[in-house]
Symmetry: C2
Subunit: 235 residues, 2 copies
């Protein structure tokens, strides 16, 4: 029996989707253990005690070893399972670029997308109407970080197709899943950003059918003015 | 002439201090390039164009290679320069624990310390009085994350002295420098947290005299009710 890991995830979570796609694309055997964020299943004592003390998704369990944080998990999987080298390049400069992006992302692109998503989409579901001034401030921050991504990280380079070279890496996959989340809140990240739009298409094409599979709820929940692929219903 | 890197840093920045201590402790030759955050030197076009497009500190330049984000820089330096193996363990489980902590830190311990520091200490310097309700909310968040650090990451383990085993790693160094920042805002992270207090002492002792050198402004700026070491003035 081949070695497999358990993946605890929710497809509404950006890093959960990215890890789901990474595992699937690399044919790493994994057991699906869905955790419903909307039911707060990630905050129960049992989940914290038995799966992830940090009380978050995604998380993997490999034998008796439990590991949280998608960035740590990618690196662990690249050491422990056969994966194509482009995902986490051994070349020192490219590896450093991947690490640099993934470290920067937390308090910048991820924070700005999440704050917008929570304020504009999630709060109303919880009965809190978004404040117009705050929405505008958060939108400007999101505009700024996506413009930087489009113009500095994608366009200003040496004509590379992806963030750390001419092949896709975990930096691209992680970034794409963060950026897709904005669509649910009615924000089109591709509008006026041609480099970002063609890069996002390339990430999707490189990882399909798993990309669409992981993004089925994103596509379904995005309002009509956001163009998303039509994916066959599987349930 | 031995290879050296340029370090762009400000000792008021937590990851700048951590990297300064890391370079010094590991005897990696580096040129000091101070960048004054209070003068916004990290936001100038020149700095962004010639040093760090992200407009932040710390950052290193190694030959023609520029790298931002302390977490990426540690890993790069461990590949490129001789460093003791305990800083970033090659053992797969310990390395994963270091990665897990450093990834989690950004949006949790680092975010909570920084938000408190900005609201309580920096805003008043900029003429904005802190809001009492917000101060209380931020303090409760900081209490929560430091309690988790003390009880789950330090105490609940198998009696390990450091975050990823019995020897210090970049996770400990990075965490210690984040936690020290709270002292400037009059928050004592050690009060009521014996595991955290003795771990913080161990990190300092393991990396002195560089730890105290890097924290001289933290010690000087902390209010009297926070106990900090007395360090000889060097300027």
């Amino acid at each position: 029996m081949s070695r497999s890991v358990k993946l605890y995830y929710d497809l509404m979570s950006q890093p959960s989707r990215a890890l789901y796609i990474f595992l699937s694309t690399n044919k790493i055997p994994f057991d699906r253990c869905p955790i419903a964020l909307r039911k707060m299943q990630h905050k129960t004592d049992e989940y914290r005690r038995q799966v992830n003390r940090y009380g978050k998704v995604p998380c993997i369990v490999d034998g008796s070893f439990r590991l949280a944080e998608s960035v740590a998990i990618y690196r662990y999987l690249c050491r422990e399972f056969p994966t194509d080298g482009h995902w986490y390049p051994s070349d020192t400069v490219r590896q450093a670029r991947v690490d640099e992006y993934l470290s920067w992302q937390h308090l910048n692109l991820r924070a700005d997308v999440s704050l917008y998503f929570f304020h504009v989409w999630l709060n109303p579901l919880l009965g809190k109407e978004p404040d117009a001034g705050k929405t505008e401030r958060l939108r400007r921050r999101l505009d700024g970080v996506l413009n930087f991504f489009d113009q500095e990280l994608l366009s200003a380079g040496s004509g590379q197709a992806f963030l750390a070279g001419d092949r896709i890496s975990i930096a691209d996959l992680s970034a794409a899943c963060e950026i897709e989340q904005a669509k649910i809140a009615g924000y089109d990240p591709c509008e006026g950003r041609p480099a970002l739009a063609s890069w996002l298409t390339a990430v999707r094409e490189r990882t399909n059918p798993y990309y669409d599979e992981a993004h089925k709820y994103v596509y379904r929940l995005s309002p009509d003015h956001i163009v998303t692929p039509v994916v066959a219903e599987d349930e």
